[in-house]
């Protein structure tokens, strides 16, 4: 019962940020909403660890957070490099 | 000394991730020695005799203030998001800091990002450019004091 409340709150957050990702006026807004979405997904994985009572989900959350940070940095390099070619 | 602290940090992270057992301690020690030899030329921090006092100060003074400011920031965001017409007065201001050292500046910039209504954009030598959601104050000195005053006082005692 309580799980349903928590997951529905997080699911609404995912829905809002996905809507922003679709209607974002330019590429920067889409990168911002992707960053928010990654953090919400980390929260969902952590709550899954409580629901299924398995410690492996915390390892998945650690790896996912590292990948999310690298993904943000890669998009930032792309946004900066699109202006003037090098750097 | 630098080798030793790098080794301790790596071993602590490994043990927190893997659990405290005898074979994990042995494997973690071997891996930490290898990584220490590779990584030591990239790290530069000094450590002296006052480090435990500064660490305790960081843990018991900085962290509670940080949590309090973070909760305050979220209530501020909630007030702005849930109000019908969003109150805005944004601008980019310049904040001058006295803290030397990369780690101190990183901590200050992160603290500014997570406090109410501010977002640090860029760090140059001793100047942090901050996007503020609501610019208060008349001149540049008041901007600096409004944004970074509390944290700079606390962090100035910890990182020189």
């Amino acid at each position: 019962m309580m799980d349903i409340i928590v997951f529905s709150l997080m699911g609404l957050g995912v829905v809002f940020s996905v809507i922003r990702m679709f209607i974002g006026p330019n590429l920067c807004d889409r990168v911002v909403s992707l960053d928010t979405l990654n953090m919400i997904v980390i929260g969902i994985i952590v709550v899954l660890a409580v629901v299924f009572k398995s410690e492996l989900y915390l390892d998945i959350a650690i790896v996912y957070s590292i990948l999310a940070f690298l993904e943000t940095i890669v998009f930032v390099r792309y946004l900066e490099g699109k202006k003037d070619g090098n750097s | 000394m630098k080798y030793f602290t790098t080794f301790i940090t790596l071993l602590l992270v490994y043990l927190l991730l893997a659990g405290f057992q005898v074979n994990e301690v042995i494997l973690g020690s071997v891996l930490s020695v290898i990584l220490t030899v590779i990584l030591t030329k990239y790290v530069d921090y000094k450590i002296d005799i006052l480090f435990p006092i500064r660490f305790l100060k960081f843990l018991f003074i900085y962290i509670p203030v940080f949590i309090y400011k973070l909760v305050l920031a979220n209530l501020d965001v909630a007030r702005r998001v849930l109000s019908f017409k969003i109150p805005l007065n944004p601008g980019i201001v310049k904040v001058k800091t006295d803290i030397k050292g990369d780690l101190g500046k990183l901590t200050l910039a992160n603290s500014i990002t997570l406090t109410p209504g501010t977002l640090s954009i860029d760090v140059e030598d001793d100047v942090i450019y901050v996007h503020a959601i609501d610019v208060k104050g008349k001149n540049k000195k008041e901007h600096s004091k409004n944004i970074a005053g509390t944290f700079e006082k606390i962090l100035g005692g910890i990182f020189k």
């Binding site: 920067c28 | 991730l17 965001v77």
Partner: protein, 111 residues
Amino acid sequence: MEIVSYIFLIIGGLFFLLGGLGVLRMPDTFNRIQAGTKATTLGVFSTLIGVAFANPDWIAKVIVIIVFVAISNPIGSSAIAKAIYNSKNVPGNLVIDELKERGEDNDNDVV
């Protein structure tokens, strides 16, 4: 113990919802970054504290995730903001912009 854990999890869910709503409702890009970063950072903290109350054996990994998120999330959003400023997509509603005149007059007016 379980009740406290679920209270923290529901608070975390509320802050995630607030982050999504902030990203959707704010009018320009920098304000979207602010709302998203603050709300989701506190959401991750609160959710992980709830997990640590549910199973106290997992507290080591919870501390590792909290420290990593607390360091990496503000750095990521600050890097996005810098890239947006450098790519000339600055929103036009700034009342003051001191980043524009850097390199010109950095001698007298900063006290």
